[in-house]
Symmetry: C2
Subunit: 345 residues, 2 copies
């Protein structure tokens, strides 16, 4: 199976995407892989698999690799002798901005390239935590209560401390603070506003149980991963999260009852159906007093959450064969023709 | 003021976009305009203003015009002698698919081209009527109640007849039916499913009052158009809507009380703030028993709803100077550097 791994991106998670791609190279041994790197200037490069090391990118050596451009149906490499097309299915592995905000999805759709990854509408609801809340309310999935703060807006906080303050649109804990008392709140808000003009504040629930569940739709049903109980930390800092993205060893299942597993699956399915088709996503849930709350949707989880699937390569094959196909609308000039005829032109 | 009008697109409203562009050419006499046409194959052409006639496109004569490609910061015209860049602000005038679904917004953002038009997140909420409902619920704006039908799903209708059946994502009344009794319902549903796998059903309210209000944000406030009471029809068919998109004569204000105007403005502002910045949008409202309901958001109204603004050219200038600027995230290799150093590489 041929597959093009698209990674990098002008994103705060640029490095993390590189680590993810290197991890998948090790994991997808039965696939025939191409690697396309998007640099911070939005140039695409075809990377020789032998050069898939972190230092290739940090030292700028990728610039010696062939440049690619987007053309109808493919990434295209132009040379003196014509052009070579890379038209395989793309795995969008750009975490954070560009990849998870819908930009890459729109680009690939516009150029009619098939891809694994969230469509742009799905990205709107997963990338911006404010819109994840809108989605939860609409589809009747519970989540932690919240308040929205807009930059330059004068507003008091109604929630009680401790709270967690998050920029609406960044992942990997960037700009996130836990605030234990009022005196620290303004500073936390300013920190978050450095990254986004919209900030979410939620109650910080100590000792909350967390469970992660990944899955994707194929053959008209959701194929679920095992449920994982992630390691407990107040929240993962950037460095720990970074290590997390290079995971490839499978984890052990969370020791929870079938009833809770089913609740998690029901909530996952409500989020996924009619919105995330084409993507393998990971939903991170909180469980508070037996109640399941959606914390976050990761539409492109680190190294595709490979460690949560018993047979990751087989899962990916299933997904490749179930990708949605965006039909390009057929245009017509019927109306203009009929007007022109009526005018005798 | 230089401005590039981007029109066409692979959309059922392709012809309508051409009409819109021709109308704006007549209306924006003090602007220095370029015209970029996106054809049904997603190729871009630079159109000579003298060729801005409907038949240029219906006869395929645009293919003799220079091809453009998207490059960083501009549409670029390559020739034997190098390349010429068109780096002016773009007015996204592609109605329907491509333009209003967020694709063009994502493309222009990716290539760092400034533009008038809805950003991709805003498009998610205006293009898909299902998500407009999600938005209304979240921001506390009333709208007509609804039921969602998914293709291949067995489900009964709870609403009473008459109802209006609409594909979730198309404008211009395509695939829309008014259903007066149950026997016609399945056929209407099938018709709508030809255009979209998600269909919305709403009660059809006879004799409802309709009001349109356009506006945009600049200088930290919303600049409103006059309120229009559109001509009464059960609903506009494609041909009538088409004529509507070529309007350039100003209309007279709806004769309604200040209190209702203020209600409409308040609802408009709730929809717009924090989501539609950069766009001139038109909100179409219903008024039922004195209650204002949002019917539809037009994020790229036909010929930019020029006829609703007293001084349209001045309005557009205000908006051009208030466009949001998407900063490209700065990438770093700090983490890879620190790991490499620790390893002594």
């Amino acid at each position: 199976m041929k597959l093009t791994i698209l990674f990098g991106g002008a994103s705060f998670e640029h490095e993390i995407s590189i680590v993810s791609a290197i991890t998948l190279k090790e994991k997808l041994t039965t696939f025939d892989l191409n690697f396309v790197f998007c640099d911070g200037d939005h140039q695409f490069y075809l990377i020789d698999p032998a050069k898939m090391k972190a230092t290739t990118f940090s030292k700028g050596e990728h610039k010696k690799q062939p440049l690619l451009t987007l053309t109808n149906g493919a990434f295209s490499q132009k040379s003196m002798f014509g052009s070579k097309e890379y038209a395989d299915v793309v795995l969008n592995l750009i975490h954070g901005g560009d990849g998870e905000d819908g930009t890459i999805a729109a680009l690939l759709d516009f150029y009619s390239i098939k891809y694994i990854g969230p469509r742009k509408e799905a990205c709107t609801f997963s990338y911006d935590k404010r819109f994840t809340k809108y989605l939860c309310e609409a589809i009747n999935v519970k989540s932690v209560k919240y308040e929205v703060f807009y930059k330059n807006e004068q507003k008091n906080l109604d929630l009680e401390f401790p709270v967690i303050v998050k920029p609406a649109t960044l992942g990997s804990s960037i700009g996130v603070s836990i605030v234990k008392e009022e005196s620290e709140f303004d500073y936390a808000l300013d920190t978050a506003f450095e990254y986004d003009s919209v900030v979410l504040v939620e109650p910080f629930i100590e000792g909350v149980k967390e469970y992660n569940l990944a899955g994707f739709s194929a053959d008209n049903k959701i194929n679920f991963s095992i449920v994982e109980e992630p390691q407990k930390e107040e929240f993962l800092d950037f460095e720990k999260k970074y290590m997390d993205f290079s995971r490839s060893e499978s984890v052990s299942k969370a020791e929870i009852e079938e009833e809770l597993i089913n609740k998690l699956k029901t909530n996952f399915e409500k989020v996924y159906r009619g919105l995330f088709e084409g993507a393998l996503i990971r939903c991170d849930f909180f469980v508070v007093n037996g109640e399941v709350l959606l914390n976050e949707i990761n539409p492109i989880p680190g190294s595709m959450a490979n460690y949560l699937f018993e047979d990751f390569e087989a899962s990916l094959l299933l997904l490749v064969n179930a990708l949605p196909h965006k039909k390009r609308a057929k245009i017509s000039y019927d109306y203009i023709h009929s007007i022109s005829q009526a005018k005798g032109k």
